[in-house]
Each structure stands twice: as C-alpha cells, then as structure tokens.
Amino acid sequence: MRRQEVPVLLNQASDRLPEPDLADAAWEGGLAYRRRQRRSVIAGLIAMLLGVVIGVLVMTLGGGKNAFTPPDTTPSLPGSIPPAGQISGINYWNAPPAGSERFLDRVSTPLGDLLRIPDDAGDLKDNPMDRVAAVILSSQEGNYVPLFLSSDSHWAQAATELRPIATGQPLSSGAIAPNGKLVAFPQPGGVFVIDVSTADVRSIRLPSQDLRSVSWLENSTRLIISGPGSAYRIDVDLESAQQPVVGAVAVSNDAEDATAPYRLDGTAGQVALRQYAGGNGWVEVSNPRLPVSRWVGQTFAGSNLVARVFVANPLPQVPTVASRAQVVAAISALEPLEDRLLVLGETPAATPTPGRTSPDRIREPGCCSLLGWYDSQTALFQVTDWLLAWNLQSGQVRRVTELEVDGVAIGPGIRG
C-alpha cells in the first residue's frame, strides 16, 4: 500500500456521514453559556454584599454578650500542663506518681536508658574529654574509683583512688565545674580535683577532716567545699605548682547549703534565697514563702532560676497519709511570678478500700534531690532510682535515665 492511498482509504471510511447543521446550535449554546456566566457573577456579588451587610450589622448591633470578644487568657503552649493550684501563692504541679517513671516520655541524653557502672571504661589519660556528662564512682576494696562519661557517651576511668567520707562515697552533686572540664571530690582533710581534658590531678589539703559537699562558681576557677561546721573557698589552678589560695566561708549547719552563685536555705518562715557575694558570705535576695521542713541536696542555678528540693510541712493542697510531700522548688532571682513548685506526693491506692487509707507507694524522705539543669527551663532531679527532667514552661516531667548506681553528678556534657 502506498502512502498516497491512505487519504483515499480514510475518505472512503468517512464518506457516508450525514451533513450536520451546527451553526444555530453553536450560537445558541454560546448565548446560554453567557447567560449562565452572567447569573453566576450576579449571584456572587449578591452573596458578597449580604456578607458585608451581615458583618456590619453584627459589629454595630451585636454588642454585649453576643459580641465577639478576644479571650482574656494567654493561650498555652501545645502539650503544656496547667498548674494544679497554688501553694503559698506559688503555682505548683503534681509530679507523676511513683512507679510511673518508666512510662514517661524520654529525654535523649548521653546517659542512655540505664546508667550503670561500665565494663569497658578506658584510661582517662588515653581518652581525655572536653565536657563531662556525668560522674559516678565504682567501689573497689573500700575505696572509690571515679568514672567519667563524656558528651559522646564514652566512659573513662581516672587512675586514682578516693577514700570514703563521713557519709559514704565521696561524690557531691555539684562535683562538675560549669566548663565541664574540672571535677572535684570531697576527701577527708582535703579535696581532690581532676582535669578530664588533661587527666591532671591535684590534691588540696584543708584543715577540716569532715568535708562532704563541693560547689563550683560560674567561672570554673573557684570552688566552695563544705562540711558540718566548716566551709572553704579555693582558687583552683592546676597548672600552678603552688598550693592554692584557701579562704574560710561563713559556716552553715547543713553541709550542702554552701553553694554558688545562689543558695536556698532556711525553714518555714525564714526561707531565703541568697547570692554568693565573694569573700566569705552570701547576701539575701528574697524571702520566698515556702513551707519547708528541711532541705535535701544542693541548690543549682540555671539562668535566673534557682532550684532545690525540700521536704514540706503538711500541705492542705496535697494531703498525704504516710509520708511528707517533697517539693522541687524553682525560685526566680528576678521575678517572683516565675516561681514554680513540683510536688512529689504519695501514690493513692488504685482500688480504694473502706477503712484502709494507706497509699500504694510513698517516697521516702531524702529519696529525691536536684542534680542540676538540662537547660535554662529544665531542671534535672533524682527520684529514687530515676533521673527525671521537669520543664518549667510546660509543666511536663520526662524521664532521663534509670539509675543503677548509688550516686551521680551531672555536668554540662549531658546536652550532648
């Protein structure tokens, strides 16, 4: 078949079609389309006009309770929990009940899911680190070996042994300096300082034999070490061969009171937030009205917020049967309205039984203490075998890690 034959074949295939007459129908179809278009435009304009009229009527005549009024409360952040009420004029939140820690949302940190003594810690001299995330102690024949966890989750062990102190293991919550490089351990008659970036070690002698708590100043060069009835400030310079400068600091009955840059102490009616003023003392900043029976652990400051845990006097807002509520207090050094409390209460019986009032679980006094700050709005605290994080803005409590060690100190490397 040749190419020229194709038109002939196509012509034959279509040659018996009827002759159409489309001119009138096409013109009429165009007119109908125009009419529909015009009607749509008019309907749209009328609808818009009606909307405007209704809007004007609502705005002019719809006053009083029918008027649109803006909400008078600030919208809360997504996922935030409203406070449970107020204690002494301060907003408080209830912590998740004991036993529920495992089911809380998790904050991912270099500490992992479970913090335990590692099997394969390298030598600190071979594995120096920039920032320590956590320090724990391993017991060896009555003495203790410090183990350091870096911000990239590697363990290293210092080639030194620490002697036990009066309270047992020589680990204070404030052991790690703000720069994450220096770690101090209280020792009978002195203090032991290790630089984890060089593995340098310095033992500093002090007059008192009973020293229990250390706290670093913000510049990471000055240290306050305290015991019952004695406290000292030390200028730490590991590169200098000379004996560091040691000065006395105002004494407190509680060894863990002496912290910098702030300390929270005093019991009900005399609670005070004090700022370390250099030299040998603190100056009072404010007197928060807190129902404190006694304080537990050290004070830690994150930005403008200062936090510490206390065992509370009986609270009408949080009734307890077999124990006293323990409270994480976060007190602002600048604005009292930012003060917040997190109450660690009892876990009531899941199935109430007539005549039985004992709760399912209680938290023993002293089980809980503050360990530091994750960031300026998130406090880290220990509750029995758990390290938890409390976000002060949202009120949420999340789990950081389960603790299989007796004590831990947290450093800035926890942020990774």
Partner: protein
C-alpha cells in the same frame, strides 16, 4: 453578542462543519461523540467570534483535546467491520489523531503539532509509527518490510 446567529459565523460553520465532522469521526471513532465535540468547539468559538485571529487553529485546538485525554476510556469504531476502521481502531489515540490530521486533513507536521499541543518531533514519530501500523493492520505481514518497500 447578538441574539440571532451572526451571518459570518453561520457561513464560517457551514463551510467547515461537514469536513471537520468527518475528520473528528475518524479521530474519535464515534459519530455521536465527534458531533458533540465539534459542537462544543464551535460553541466556544461563538463566544470569542470576532476576537480570534485564526478561527481554524482555535477550533482544531479545542476539537481534539478530549481525544488525547489519557483518562478517556471511550470505545473506538465499536462493532465496525470495515478493515480501514478496524485498522484505525488498532492505533493509539495520539497515533490516530496524527495520522488523520496529516493524511486526511492534509495539515503539515507543524500545523498538526499546534492543533494537538504536541512537539514537532512527537508528531513526526507518531506519524511514522501510525502509518506503519495502519499498513500492517490492513494486511502487510511485517511493517518493516512495508517501510523498506515504500522508501524504495
């Protein structure tokens, strides 16, 4: 737009409707559908009558849009026994449209490309393939023999 048919528009439609109905019938393979599409194209033209520079190109551009729609599942030359119509039915919609416009409507490849909204190379390729397949369907055993024989 006037209420009665514009005489120039009526003359224009009268002059082309028979020819274009046949073309559309060969492309769509269904007389009713071809009539509907041609009426739709003329209706669209009536709305812009007097404003369109090239009415032929405008109508052809609208007329074959539905034929090339990839969602169309319309049957082509259903129940027909004429071998030419059967051969056309064996082509893809693109091949059929290109073959009809090139060989029946006698448009150039560039005009066909404009009418169908295709590239010139696509029209050329579809035209060659459609012609070979059309010949094959009409009885040649191997389309390559046909192509070689034809080129000699």
């Amino acid at each position: 737009m006037r209420d009665t048919v514009d005489p120039e528009f009526a003359a224009y439609v009268d002059a082309r409707q028979g020819r274009w109905l046949r073309t559309a019938y060969l492309v769509y393979g269904d007389l009713e559908r071809a009539g509907e599409q041609l009426l739709h194209a003329f209706t669209r033209l009536s709305l812009r009558w007097g404003k369109v520079d090239d009415p032929d190109a405008y109508v052809l551009g609208i007329l074959y849009q539905a034929a090339l729609s990839r969602w169309s599942r319309a049957k082509v030359f259903e129940g027909e026994e004429d071998p030419v119509k059967t051969a056309l039915a064996a082509l893809s919609p693109q091949q059929r449209a290109v073959l009809v416009l090139l060989h029946f409507e006698e448009l150039t490849e560039f005009e066909t490309a404009d009418a169908l909204g295709m590239s010139h190379s696509a029209v050329h390729t579809n035209g060659m393939t459609a012609l070979s397949r059309f010949r094959l369907e009409l009885g040649t055993k191997d389309w390559r023999d046909v192509t070689r024989g034809d080129s000699r």
